[in-house]
Assembly symmetry: C2
Homo-oligomer: 482 residues x 2
C-alpha cells in the first residue's frame, strides 16, 4: 500500500471515529434531521448556522451554535454540511483551514444535474479538497454511520452496539435501507458510508478502509460507477481474499445507467463487464436489496458448507411440493435419505396426512400429534445424521390453525429449532412465510432473531441464498487448494 | 359439451351453491374446524357423529347431530367428510343413497401413502362414486369455498361478498393461502375448490365449471398432475379463449414430482411439456403463490395494455436507479419523454436533489416542496399525456421522514394517486416497499386497497407482473387479429 493511501486511511479513521462533529446548515425545514441524528453521539456536537431564525431551534436541542467552523474552540473530527450548493466551496475552504478529519456534503445540485453551474461547482470543491488532501465524502450523500459511538445519518438507526458488517453505498437511500432492514434481521453494522458523487474519496478508498478494519468481517457494497476501475478491482481482489465482499451494481442496464448519470453523475459501465470482474475477484454478486440482506444474514448466521444436498421439512403437503420445486430450480439437490434414516422415521412418523421421503410433509406427525415437538426434534436429528444431506431447511407456521392462533404454543417449537441450530454442524435455514398472518410471522421472526436464527420470508429467497453461499464457499475452497 | 359433462356441471352447481351442508366426523381434536367454518353459512348445517364424547361440543355450537347421513330429514346438497380412511367407503355409500349434491373427503391416507391399504381404499371409493356418478371431491383435500353464501374451509376466510376470481387447487394449503393472501390484496373470490387426489372429479371438471360460471371472470389453478391431459388442455384452450386462466404447476422438477407422488398420489409430468402446452392454450404460467397473487391482482385492477414503454417515478435517486434496472431487466422499456414533456417539467421540477428524464427522482420536487401534492399530480399528468409512455409506475414512501412518521400526511397523496388512477387510461402501478417500516407499509397498502389500487411490495414483483400482463394482452390481441 502506498504512503498516500496510508495517510488517507489514517485520516478516514479519524472521520469514522470522531470525538467531535460539526453540522453546518441544519434547519427547521429538514426537522433538524442531522442534529437529531446525533442525539446519542458520544462526543461533542456543534452547529454552524448563520440564519438567526434557525438559532432558537438549535438552542432547543441543546447544541452550541457558531457562525463559522473556525469559531469552534477545539478540533473538529467530522463535518456534515447541509448548505446551498453555492456555499459549498467556502465550507470546503473552512474545513481545510480547520484541519478537520473529514467532511460529508449532504448538499446536492452538482454534476448529477448536468447543468453548467453544477458541473463548475463540483470541479471547484474537488480541486480544493484534492490539493489539500481533505477527506471529502460526497457531495450528494449522507456520509458515515458508526453505531457504536452514535454517529448516524437518520434517527431511525440503532446505536450503542458493536457490529461486524460494513456497508459502502453510492446511494444514501440504500445505505439507509440496508441498515434499517438489517436491524430487523439481526445484521449489526460495524461502520457504513454513503458517498454520492465521489469527487474525492471513491468506493475503493472505503473498501480499503473497511478491508483493513478489524471489526468489519463482511462488506456489502452498492456501486453505480468507479473512477479508477483498475485500482478498484485490484483492491477488491485483495480484500475479497480475506473477507466476503458482496457487490450490488446499480446501472447494469442501459436505461439504469442513464439513471445513475442523473443520480450521482457517474457513467455506469456495462453490467456484463462488472459481472465477470466481480466473479474473478472472488466477490459475491447480488442484484437487489433483498439479496444483499439475505446473503449477509446467511454469511453471519448460517454455518458454511460447500455441499448442495438439501433436506427439506415442510408443514403441509402442498408446501412440501413447492419448496422442493423451488430448491431444485435454484440448482440444489433434494436427494433420498439412507435406508437407516427411513427405518428410524418409520418408528414414529404418521404417513396418513404426511410423508417422509425428502421433502418431509410433517403436518400429521408434528402438528397433529401430542408429542409433536419431540417428533420435530427427532426429524431434525434424522436429517442431521443422514450422510446424504448437507443442509437442513425447515418451514415454520404457514397456515396451521392451533399454532397460528396461539403464539405461546410457538415458544417450545422455537426452542427446539434453536437447540438444533446450536448442536448441529450442518447449515440450517428457517423459512417463516407471512401468508396466514403477517403480524404473527413478523413476531415469530423477531423471536428467532433473538435466538440467533434469522429466518427467510419465502422459499425462493432461502433457496437462492443457500445456492449463492454454497457457490461462494466452493470457490473459496478451490482457491485454498491452489 | 357431452350430455354426461352437462350433468356433472349441473350437479357441481348444486354442491357449489348448497342450501344444506352435513359435516361427518368433525371433532374436538380438530377444534371442530369444519362446523366452525360454517358458522356464517346461509343454509342448514347438520353434523353426523357417532362418538358420544363429541356430542356435547357439537351441541354447544348449536348444530343438530345425527347418527347417519340417512337420518337427516331433508335433502343434503354438500357433505364434508372428516372420518378415518377405513370408514370412507361407507360414507360414500351413504352419500349415494342420500343422493347428495357432492361430497368432499378431508380424509387422507389413500394412494398418496403408497401403502397397499391406502391404494385399495382409494380404488374402492373411486369405483363406488364413479358407478353412481357421485360428485366426489378429493379425497385428501379441503373442498369448496363460496364466500357469498358463507361456505368455507377455514374460519379465517372472508364471507358475505361477491367476487370475480375463481381458484382451483390440488393442494388445500394453496387454496387456503391464495384466498387468505388475496383478502389483503383486494382479490375477491367467486368460488374456489381444493381437490386433492382427484379420484373422481379432476381439475378439468372444475375448470369447465368455473369456465361456465358467469360470476367468475378470472381463473387461477394450482395443479400437480391431471388424469387426462388431452381433455384438460382441450378445455383449457376453450376456457382461456374467453377468460384469463393462470396456471401454477407443482412438481415441475424431478424432485418436486417425487413430492407430488407423496402429496396427492399423482405422477407429475415434465415441466417443459406443461410450459409449452400452457402457452399454446393461451393461459398464463406463474411459478409461485406471489406470482399468482400479483398477476390476478393486476388482471383485476390494472388497465389492460399491450405496450411495454414504462414511465418510472421514484422517491429518491438510489431507488430511481434500481427501479429502472429492474424494469429493464424484466424486458420492459424505459424511454425518454417527448421534448414538450420536458419543457413542461422544467417549469416546476427542482433538479437540485432530483431529476426528470425517465426515471424521475422526485424527492426535491414532491417531498421537499410546499406544493408537493400538486406537483405529484402534474408529474403524473405529464406521464399520462406523453405519447412515448404506455404505463405509469410510482413508488411511494420508502424512507422519507415527514411522510413515514406521520401517516395522516399520506392521505392527500393517496387521494391524488387514486384520482389519477381513475382519470388516466394508461395502466398504473403503485409500489409500496416495507423497508422503512413494515407496519406503515402494511397500513398504506390497506388504504390503497380500499381506494381500489392494490400496490406491489417491491420493484421485481411489479416489473415481472407488468411484463406478464403485457405479454398476455399482446397474445390476446394477436389472436383476435387472426
Amino acid at each position: 500500500m502506498s504512503k498516500v493511501a496510508e495517510t488517507t486511511l489514517e485520516k478516514l479513521d479519524r472521520a469514522f471515529n470522531p470525538r467531535s462533529v460539526a453540522v453546518v446548515g441544519d434547519k427547521q425545514a429538514l426537522g433538524y434531521m442531522w442534529l437529531r441524528s446525533l442525539i446519542p453521539f458520544k462526543g461533542k456536537v456543534y452547529s454552524v448556522q448563520i440564519d438567526p431564525n434557525e438559532l432558537p431551534g438549535i438552542a432547543e436541542l441543546g447544541v452550541e451554535n457558531y457562525l463559522t467552523l473556525m469559531d469552534i474552540p477545539g478540533p473538529v473530527d467530522y463535518v456534515i454540511a447541509s448548505v446551498p450548493r453555492a456555499v459549498a466551496p467556502r465550507i470546503v475552504e473552512d474545513c481545510i483551514q480547520k484541519k478537520v478529519g473529514g467532511v460529508c456534503f449532504f448538499t446536492s445540485g452538482f454534476a448529477e444535474t448536468n447543468t453548467e453551474e453544477g458541473i463548475r461547482l463540483q470541479r471547484v470543491i474537488a480541486d480544493l479538497a484534492g490539493k489539500a488532501s481533505l477527506n471529502l465524502i460526497g457531495p450528494n450523500c449522507v456520509g458515515l454511520y458508526n453505531p457504536k459511538i452514535g454517529l448516524r445519518h437518520t434517527e431511525a438507526q440503532d446505536y450503542g452496539e458493536d457490529g461486524s458488517v460494513g456497508f459502502i453505498a453510492q446511494s444514501g437511500t440504500h445505505a439507509t435501507l440496508f441498515t434499517l432492514v438489517g436491524q430487523h434481521e439481526g445484521i449489526k453494522i460495524s461502520k457504513s458510508v454513503s458517498y454520492g458523487n465521489a469527487v474525492v474519496l471513491d468506493s475503493t478508498d472505503f473498501l480499503e478502509y473497511l478491508g483493513a478494519d478489524e471489526e468489519t468481517k463482511i462488506i456489502g457494497m452498492y456501486i453505480e460507477g468507479v473512477k479508477d476501475g483498475r485500482r478498484f478491482f485490484r483492491s477488491l481482489r485483495e480484500v475479497a481474499s480475506r473477507k466476503p465482499v458482496l457487490i450490488w451494481k446499480g446501472g447494469e442496464t442501459e436505461e439504469g445507467a442513464r439513471a445513475t448519470a442523473s443520480h450521482t453523475g457517474v457513467l455506469a459501465e456495462s453490467g456484463i463487464v462488472w459481472q465477470a470482474a466481480i466473479k474473478q475477484c472472488g466477490a459475491i454478486k447480488v442484484d437487489n436489496l433483498d439479496e444483499m440482506v439475505d446473503t449477509v444474514k446467511a454469511l453471519v448466521y448460517v454455518k458454511p458448507a460447500t455441499g448442495t444436498r438439501v433436506g427439506l421439512i415442510a408443514m403441509s403437503g402442498g408446501q412440501s411440493v413447492v419448496v422442493t420445486d423451488t430448491f431444485a430450480k435454484a440448482g440444489l439437490k433434494v436427494p433420498l435419505l439412507t435406508q437407516s434414516s427411513y427405518q428410524r422415521l418409520a418408528t414414529f412418523f404418521n404417513i396418513i396426512g404426511g410423508s417422509y421421503r425428502n421433502p418431509f410433509d410433517i403436518s400429521s406427525t408434528f402438528l397433529m400429534a401430542d408429542n409433536g415437538v419431540s417428533n420435530l426434534a427427532s426429524m431434525l436429528d434424522v436429517m442431521d445424521q443422514d450422510p446424504n444431506i448437507d443442509c437442513v431447511v425447515l418451514e415454520l407456521f404457514p397456515v396451521i390453525r392451533p399454532l397460528s392462533q396461539n403464539p405461546e404454543t410457538a415458544d417450545p417449537i422455537l426452542d427446539t429449532v434453536s437447540d438444533f441450530n446450536e448442536r448441529s454442524e450442518k447449515p440450517f435455514m428457517l423459512i417463516v412465510t407471512a401468508a396466514y398472518s403477517a403480524a404473527l410471522a413478523s413476531e415469530t421472526r423477531d423471536k428467532l432473531v433473538e435466538r440467533g436464527i434469522p429466518s427467510f420470508p419465502n422459499f425462493e429467497r432461502a433457496a437462492k441464498t443457500l445456492k449463492r453461499l454454497a457457490d461462494y464457499y466452493q470457490f473459496r475452497h478451490e482457491q485454498s487448494q491452489n
